[in-house]
Symmetry: D2
Subunit: 306 residues, 4 copies
Amino acid sequence: WRSQSHTAGKRLDISGIYPPIATPFTEPEDVDYQKLDDNIRKYGRLPFRGLVVQGSNGEYPYLTAEERVEVVKRVKQALPKDKLVMAGSGCESTRATIQMSQRMADAGADCVLVVTPCFYRGRMDSRALINHYSKVADSCSVPVVLYSVPANTGLDLPVDAVIQLSKHPNIVGLKDSGGDITRIALMVQKTRSQDFQVLAGSAGFLMAAYAVGAVGGVCALANVLGQQVCELAQLCVSGRWDEAKELQYRLIEPNTAVTRGFGVPALKLAMDWFGYHGGICRSPLQPLSKADLEALRGKFSSNGWL
Amino acid sequence: WRSQSHTAGKRLDISGIYPPIATPFTEPEDVDYQKLDDNIRKYGRLPFRGLVVQGSNGEYPYLTAEERVEVVKRVKQALPKDKLVMAGSGCESTRATIQMSQRMADAGADCVLVVTPCFYRGRMDSRALINHYSKVADSCSVPVVLYSVPANTGLDLPVDAVIQLSKHPNIVGLKDSGGDITRIALMVQKTRSQDFQVLAGSAGFLMAAYAVGAVGGVCALANVLGQQVCELAQLCVSGRWDEAKELQYRLIEPNTAVTRGFGVPALKLAMDWFGYHGGICRSPLQPLSKADLEALRGKFSSNGWL
Amino acid sequence: WRSQSHTAGKRLDISGIYPPIATPFTEPEDVDYQKLDDNIRKYGRLPFRGLVVQGSNGEYPYLTAEERVEVVKRVKQALPKDKLVMAGSGCESTRATIQMSQRMADAGADCVLVVTPCFYRGRMDSRALINHYSKVADSCSVPVVLYSVPANTGLDLPVDAVIQLSKHPNIVGLKDSGGDITRIALMVQKTRSQDFQVLAGSAGFLMAAYAVGAVGGVCALANVLGQQVCELAQLCVSGRWDEAKELQYRLIEPNTAVTRGFGVPALKLAMDWFGYHGGICRSPLQPLSKADLEALRGKFSSNGWL
Amino acid sequence: WRSQSHTAGKRLDISGIYPPIATPFTEPEDVDYQKLDDNIRKYGRLPFRGLVVQGSNGEYPYLTAEERVEVVKRVKQALPKDKLVMAGSGCESTRATIQMSQRMADAGADCVLVVTPCFYRGRMDSRALINHYSKVADSCSVPVVLYSVPANTGLDLPVDAVIQLSKHPNIVGLKDSGGDITRIALMVQKTRSQDFQVLAGSAGFLMAAYAVGAVGGVCALANVLGQQVCELAQLCVSGRWDEAKELQYRLIEPNTAVTRGFGVPALKLAMDWFGYHGGICRSPLQPLSKADLEALRGKFSSNGWL
């Protein structure tokens, strides 16, 4: 099966927009699969390429291994067949990541998104990371997408490691949430011969990323303003850059507010405002203070979204 | 039982030296419980106050929940009864931390060491951390020790949170690995009325920490030079500061080499040199390069230890 | 004169490309005005909007006040009249900055570029910076351009301060060298009603900056590949984004090499290779090692420039 | 004279406590030499080893070269002959530092304190810094003290550079304001054979620094609580560590408040409270807000000083 997978891997087109979905919880902080289902059905009607399950916004570090797999299974069931399920399978150890990746593939994931291990970040140099990702990609029956998110991990996947890994037959792309546009452009340039696909990890720099050669984005804001993020992507793809710029401007502040600004609790609150199930986070993530809630609302209303 | 525990908690004297033990692995990277046993029996003959099981040097982020508990159980069995087992039970979510803490207590841990959750570090302010630790301490049948290790977590447990948490009847102390001696002194001063015990998280600043009021240390280097670290502590406790200073000097470079310098792989290599079972790390941690190995050796030999 | 200046200020069009020129030195490290003249005359034949004199690449912190003014005077004399002289007049204190700005204006500067004061960066909040820039702009007879260069100063000029300062009649724009494209887009959006002009501070993200609304760039690399940087700008301005992208790619690595990678000594070395006078830096800046020199050359040759 | 100086250099005993004096200004922000004189005469009656003129707290980056020299001259005149004048002569370029060091020596400085140049911090490696300090020490007729203050410069003088420079006959010591006690101990250990003297750069870790072998301190807080800081030093020198610890505790919060917490404006305000001339700072440094002023006062009063 491996050679098949690898061939398939290089054929998997991951271009387009993905919301990294949130995980709804009941009041005692159990996963609320019913509300998850509701959200997925709504997202299924938007022009997304697929969903990212258990990116940073999915509170995956707060889920058990069983919950992580079960959520992937539910999403696969509820989502139209033409949408991709990109499942976040990263763990700290290589062996746990290998195991989790395969479990998610077996649960229906079309590809897996593997965050950089980071606890021993002082030792996570290119050698260690190339070793880690190569072993995971070697053993996984679905394609692997690299994932660099320094705001959470304190670690940037080094460009030389990305270049090396882009040559692996079962590694098809990268989600970069760091937002350094020079780095993104450089990675696109240096991996062009490999059919390697770069996704912007945030709506804040989505247009700029498209301009320098990215082919899509995994955007927290797409959980809230999904139609608009898809429209921005479409404007970029069709070269209508002036219109794209105007739309991009209006998305920056709301995007920052639900990511770096106020985090997952803000994303979930905004989801509630826009007709999705957001709700509480698992502890220790706390609800927004009243002042932060007002500031969050202001970032949406001043840009014409509320 | 809770009131008993809490009373007991405040009575638990955690002062003294602890090696944060490493976890030996077999060649296919399974936990090698036999070698673990051997190490514990050797450590049992040294004048340690106890052992820390699954601090950062134990590669705990690479162990499964079952392995984490099993290692605690084995250590408890192999260690003389007068030594403490301080077990690292921290997880990212509050609910997982509560569960793991109790499992470790049930497996024989005398107290639990709870690292700051850190993945969503932008949201881990004092409010969130006080909430997290309070819930864990409320529910745990053994005393809780706070654990701040910014080199790994990118997060310092704020002093105001430490002060607040020192008032909890089941929180008995703090391991601080950051090494900011001003901060350590301030925390000692501000928690004096609470019978709160501060442990230095590294041998590099152990003497200075004693000087400003710490009562012990959890020192990676004690896995290698256990007798010497205990001797340094004893010199400090008995006020023989000039002798302490001379010994402290000779421990700084070896200590830095097995911690910040070259990390857990270096610690395990040095353990092999000094008659313990170190061996390989779980992937993605890589063995030292030959150049780093030589540099590591130099830090021990130039200070007269090899 | 002030109302004239202010009116003039708002009319000054600073859009386009500027090399932040280097300062050539003789062997005993005196300013080599003859070589400076030669460079200026060559730059005068390229389609630059003007020159930045004493940006970070001009080693201005190493020049005396007298040298700083004299260099501006020489550049003004040697440069064709239709080119702008944008002179870096920032000092740590407000009073020194006011004085230096006026001296440079008197020496022929068309506008002044004022770097954020940074030594007391812990106190340089929006209040302090708005106060500083307002006083400088109030008193200066030529327009003021803000300058944020966190790699050197450890300080980002906060967006809210930029927005506030954009309303000052004598502040016409900003050079942003940080490279955070989301921030750049946000500043363009938030200052649109003010006829405020944003310049990219590096060639590495020049195309992306144009895409989100910047109107030019101050690019170290333009000291070396001036024609090519101007061509990239022209492609952006005329909406030929696909061609722009291809050219942008080839400029990233050389740009990084002469800025963050190897710094001013590398910039000057590359200038020598491309027919300009680069030469030595003032001490304590050191010449490149042989290995770094080879790496630098590789970044130009592998992208087809050498 | 050089061999004399060098011999003298190695004989200069710099051990003891120094306030890094503030520079008083009149309302239009001119140096107020009369108030400076008053302060110096008061400081002259305290058991200081001497004064540091133009450390970071002297607002030296805001003074002209002429003012810097004149302040040194005035301090020399007003200070009793048995006290040292340690004058901060660091500039960004080596040539300016050489010149300023000699001017200050000629104005009466007993030794010069040379901060790390930092604007091009990416290039300020050990090679550059050893070169810089060696040239300055070679040419200076009074001994040189190294000065590392990462909070302001974003740069730690590397330990290997300190070790190398400690061998220079005209370099007698180091002021380290970073506060990393492990680093301080290591530097003391590694320079023991050189009669090299390490001074703590802050009162917050003064006792710990003495414990590991420092011989004094340059402490902003000594501008305010000079008697107390000298008493702490005396307790350390005479081995009365328990009493020292109690006093150290009470100095931490006031010290942090007038340094990292609220900076030079807070130091000057506290000076006013304790009978010295503090007053305003030069712009862009701003006065404390009312809330910060109250917080500052609280740090003194809660520790029994107000």
